[in-house]
Symmetry: C2
């Protein structure tokens, strides 16, 4: 095959499509619109394949229509097609096979897309009993094996076989235990149970697998995917070619480690044991991890040096990122101190009784904190996240999947090894899993039945991306921080200058930094106004004017493009409002409900602001930068959430917990409490504070 010619492809119609994995010469064919066209063209064929294949004669008749459609479509993109009809027999005759091979090679060389189909008119009639309704059907299995043979013959890189199910399952889809297989290794074949072929004309999965294995042996990779439902599968072929996890991929090489699905299951199972440990045991694990961070410093720093060297040599990481990537004895030390704090918090997280009710005589109800289940934490090039997040998960009894930036791969590997070493002391080594950097975040978000909560730790861009990708799984994180500081007419000059400076300049990239400064109209053209402007100028803060602010000034700064901007830098928007009420309305309209501040000496105005404003954090005469778990005194900080349910604002360990209801009775039934029953509800609230009986016992 000629290289540097783009992707070459051949299409086997009616149920099987083979794309060669080189690119077509014409650049236009690489554009998304064409891919869509190719794709939707294929779907139409799929839709038609049933009527077309009702009988051999019908197939022959349909062939010309099919070809006309393909030709018309490809013509729109200046691509020629060619029709090639073959039979399986053509492969058995060496001369015929060579003729076919050179014809196809020549077509590809000329940038013509061969559309290949079985020459149904001349193949033998279907074998008796080969299909349930054999008489009226041309066995479509031919197309699977035809595609496989052609793929191998033409040394194709990839064969895509489209089916009406998502791919391969280990037992017939729909049964209780059926599990989807992402990657299939030939050695695993015995673990598959095939269902009876109930639907004729679709091609049994067994036949597809056979053909796929045959192609795999011949050196062609194979993907079996669903091509019937464009709403669900979207652009299945382009997705596959782009390397996304779609369908079942057939591979010769079994990777050393477990798949991410297996890792999730291991962590869930081990996590259940972790959750049932005594709080002291979880605390011990975290303390041990803290010790290991000091004891095994050299090992950690050596790995970190490898990552640093790679990053420096690659030369593409900005200094701030290099700084975050690098570890030092001092950093490890403060990390260990933080872990010891978490180990204290671990004593009082899982199994805390929040509510205790005497429902009736001998019927006692408790609401108890329990772990959420399996957490997925995604962090960027900052390896100190790993032990910190692991400690938080262990403290809260949650299973954890970690996905770190590939820049820190070596450091993460060592830190994860030490975490598992610490976990081993109570037999829960597998509760924390490090997901290989090969896995795309999008692929992880697909595991919506297995992961209960995603926590992105990093830039708000990362959080936004993940919130977009995570369809069914809740995400704990702040997507945007458009924080306001409102300077009231009765504000103290000193407090205004201090708080505005701190809110904007202390750390401009933080989500709790001020983005918009609202000032009361009465302040305009006062000394306070001039002092604010002078201070911002001195701090080199670039000011963007809101429309009203601009209208009040003879010479105003450039107008803000939008009042909803998160600058994340030494820039801010300034706008004028007539009253505290107007400030509240402005913030409701343009803010992100993260953190908003009022500066005033008038207590009534302040309390109205604090009460009316619907933000996660509302502050009076304090910098917006206080919106932070550590500064709030929450102990271990999980993150800051802009979600409205579960946890809001700075989140401590309780954000990683949910509750369960434990009811202990003595044979009670609800019928006992019916009109004619013998029991009455008491619903007496009891004092809480003692640990669960079960946890007393397990110690």
């Amino acid at each position: 095959m000629l290289q540097n010619q783009g992707r070459e492809m051949m299409i086997v119609t009616s149920g099987a499509v083979a794309f060669g994995k080189q690119r077509l010469r014409h650049e236009i064919l690489l554009s998304q619109s064409v891919r869509q066209a190719l794709h939707s063209g294929h779907n139409q064929l799929k839709d038609m394949s049933l009527p077309v294949l009702e009988a051999r004669a019908c197939a022959a008749a349909g062939q010309s229509g099919l070809m006309a459609l393909y030709e018309a479509m490809f013509t729109q993109y200046s691509t020629c097609t060619a029709q090639v009809l073959v039979t399986n027999l053509d492969f058995h005759d060496d001369e015929k096979r060579q003729n076919l091979n050179s014809t196809l090679q020549e077509l590809l060389r000329m940038n013509i897309v061969p559309i290949i189909n079985t020459n149904d008119a001349v193949v033998p009639p279907p074998e008796p009993n080969s299909d349930l309704q054999g008489v009226n059907v041309i066995s479509i299995k031919d197309n699977d094996s035809l595609a496989a043979r052609l793929a191998v013959e033409m040394k194709a890189d990839l064969l895509i076989a489209l089916s009406d199910v998502e791919g391969l399952y280990d037992s017939p889809p729909g049964t209780d235990d059926a599990k989807f297989i992402d990657i299939f290794y030939p050695g695993d074949q015995q673990s598959i149970t095939y269902g009876t072929k109930s639907r004729v004309g679709i091609g049994g999965m067994e036949a597809k697998v056979k053909a796929a294995l045959w192609a795999l042996q011949g050196g062609t990779s194979v993907v079996i995917a669903n091509g019937t439902n464009p709403k669900v599968t979207g652009h299945v072929i382009t997705d596959i070619v782009e390397g996304k996890k779609v369908g079942t991929f057939f591979s010769e090489i079994k990777p050393a480690g477990p798949t991410v699905e297996q890792q999730t299951e291991m962590s869930r199972n081990s996590g259940r044991t972790l959750a049932s440990l005594h709080p002291d045991q979880r605390s011990e694990i975290i303390c041990h991890l803290a010790e290991l961070l000091t004891e095994r410093q050299e090992e950690i720093l050596a790995a970190n040096k490898m990552d640093m060297d790679l990053a420096v040599n690659a030369g593409h990481l900005p200094p701030a990122m290099l700084n975050r990537l690098s570890l030092s004895p001092a950093k490890l030390n403060s990390l260990a101190i933080g872990l010891r704090q978490i180990s204290v918090a671990a004593q009082d997280s899982v199994g805390r009784v929040l509510r205790r009710t005497r429902v009736a005589h001998n019927l006692e109800l408790e609401q108890v904190t329990v772990p959420i289940g399996v957490l997925l934490v995604i962090f960027e090039a900052r390896p100190d996240c790993l032990p910190q997040v692991s400690a938080l998960a262990i403290a809260s009894g949650n299973a954890l999947l970690l996905k770190g930036g590939k820049e820190a791969a070596n450091t993460n590997h060592v830190l994860h090894k030490l975490t598992q070493e610490a976990l081993s002391m109570h037999g829960v080594k597998e509760a924390v899993q490090l997901v290989s950097t090969r896995e795309e975040v999008e692929d992880l978000c697909r595991l919506d039945k297995m992961i209960d909560l995603i926590i992105p730790r990093g830039s708000s861009q990362l959080v936004r991306d993940i919130q977009r990708a995570a369809k069914g799984i809740p995400v704990l994180g702040h997507s945007e921080g458009i924080c306001h500081v409102y300077v009231d007419a009765n504000a103290s000059i000193d407090k205004v200058l201090k708080i505005v400076r701190d809110s904007k300049c202390d750390y401009p990239a933080a989500c709790n930094a001020m983005e918009t400064l609202l000032i009361h109209r009465d302040i305009l053209r006062t000394p306070l106004f001039d002092q604010i402007i002078d201070m911002l100028r001195t701090e080199r803060v670039r000011i963007h004017a809101g429309p009203r602010f601009a209208s009040y000034l003879t010479f105003s700064p450039s107008e803000a493009k939008s009042l909803r901007t998160e600058y994340g830098d030494l820039e801010c928007c300034m706008e004028v409002v007539d009253s505290m009420q107007e400030a509240v309305d402005h913030i409701h309209k343009y803010g992100s409900s993260h953190t908003d501040v009022i500066i005033t000496e008038n207590e009534d105005t302040a309390e109205q602001f604090l009460q009316q404003l619907d933000s996660a954090c509302v502050f009076w005469n304090a910098s917006s930068r206080f919106a932070d778990g550590y500064r709030f005194g929450l102990g271990a900080e999980v993150g800051i959430s802009t979600a409205r349910i579960h946890a809001r604002g700075p989140v401590g360990l309780e954000g990683l917990l949910t509750t369960k209801w434990v009811l202990r009775g003595d044979g009670h039934t609800v019928a006992d409490f019916s009109e004619h029953g013998t029991m009455k509800y008491l619903h007496e609230n009891q004092p809480v504070g003692q640990p669960l009986a079960g946890q007393r016992d397990s110690n």
Copy 2:
């Protein structure tokens, strides 16, 4: 136009497509696959329109390719196409227009789809200045007005104009205040601001609106929608024809009431005032509503009688549903009692201080309960839900959108009127909105930026449907209740019989009813086993055997199709396990984490079960039917949740609350606390229990 012929359609290519709203004669054309074909065919045209339209000559050259493509595609579905080239001038000449009309009528009569395009080769060159790069472009505005003219000429019911944006916005899309317009009334035109036409060749929105208004005046409805992004828009044309809310709909008739978007905004604004009321005031509103339910009984019952009469006459409602639909003085009375209980709960919901921390000298932090925001509650034909849910929303200070079943429309209307009457006493009438029954649940779920929580009240099928439809909005509800009762080897016969009977038979359709009975192997072939079977037989419970259970019996009941079945009827699955541990594993594998029960006299076994099992409710020697907010003593019941975050299991009012953090300082900055600063964090926990200062004031 001939009726009863199915949908007739005409296609105006290159940017505008008009479908007549009758059906095509051939049934095959109604199938989804064809709709997809038509649709994707159109998309390809869109994709191509830019290159094709680069010059008149090019357009002429492209025409044959376009036609070949249309023809090839439609041929696959036995549908003929015809090519008609026209110019705007053809409409000005009466004779020409009549000729065109009768040609098109004749084609439609013959079931041929006319593909109409401007005869670019003969139209005058584009007017100077009509487009930014006029020389090289044929003004595509022609297609919009051409489609409008044709639609009116042919008396089409619907004109679909596809654009590259979702539809019409009230200001240029992308600006701060741009709002999407769902339905556009000609009178509203002055409220639109158009952007400058920055992209040539797409057709300005202004021209589209002009053409649309022209068609509307001529009696044709118009939808402007996005046809460029198949990933987002899906099957835009079929969606529109099926009446889904896609794009902007142009209508002559302005409906009496506000749109659902306006209702949501009204309720959010009014809800903010509701939230800032004193708890006593919210309580008063609920008490007043309770009074109105008694005082205005006659009015309510009269409306309910209308609904009942309609339902009885229609004759399709099953008796159980009629029972739920009907109200009586007794029902209203107990409803009023329930509301008074909620009014008590309202005293202590919003503004409760959960945590109070002295962060530093003069820096005080409080975590306070606040409403979630806007709730959407969807309920079926059960009008008593309306005042109940309204009271819960009012008690928790939330704005509320209500969507009830259409069977109860009259009753709901009156009940909602009374609710608003009660709300008026404190000026928050609009906080509770009744959404018209025209709105589809799917359309409501699209309002993900405006609604914070969806609560479906009804069958678990309803909950499942809504969980599927609600992409970005959290849903509070139980999707499945596959509840287990495990009978341990050491169980008491009496308790087993009582609890198993109650769990399965008290109310088999409830989500907390037992679906699978797990028995310890030692019980097989004991008198207890026989007594369980006898009891189930007496209660007419149909037993399905799990695989192990079946293998132990000589003659077993029919095998269960799946161990994950929610029967919701007098049926259950029975399975055998070797130990408590195996029961836990079985429940983790096949259960839905709703409610699971152990029956045993061994306390250790029980506590192990209660601790290890990861379900929302875990019970020892008590019926699964206790999993219920009322029975748990939570006061007002919001629902039962199978989610793992926010609220889990039976949910009381606190499920409708979130928190905000209030920080009161005296000019504090985080810089004060830095290494070189003057302040130190204290983080002293303070006692809670006093109301918010702001709420003390507002009374």
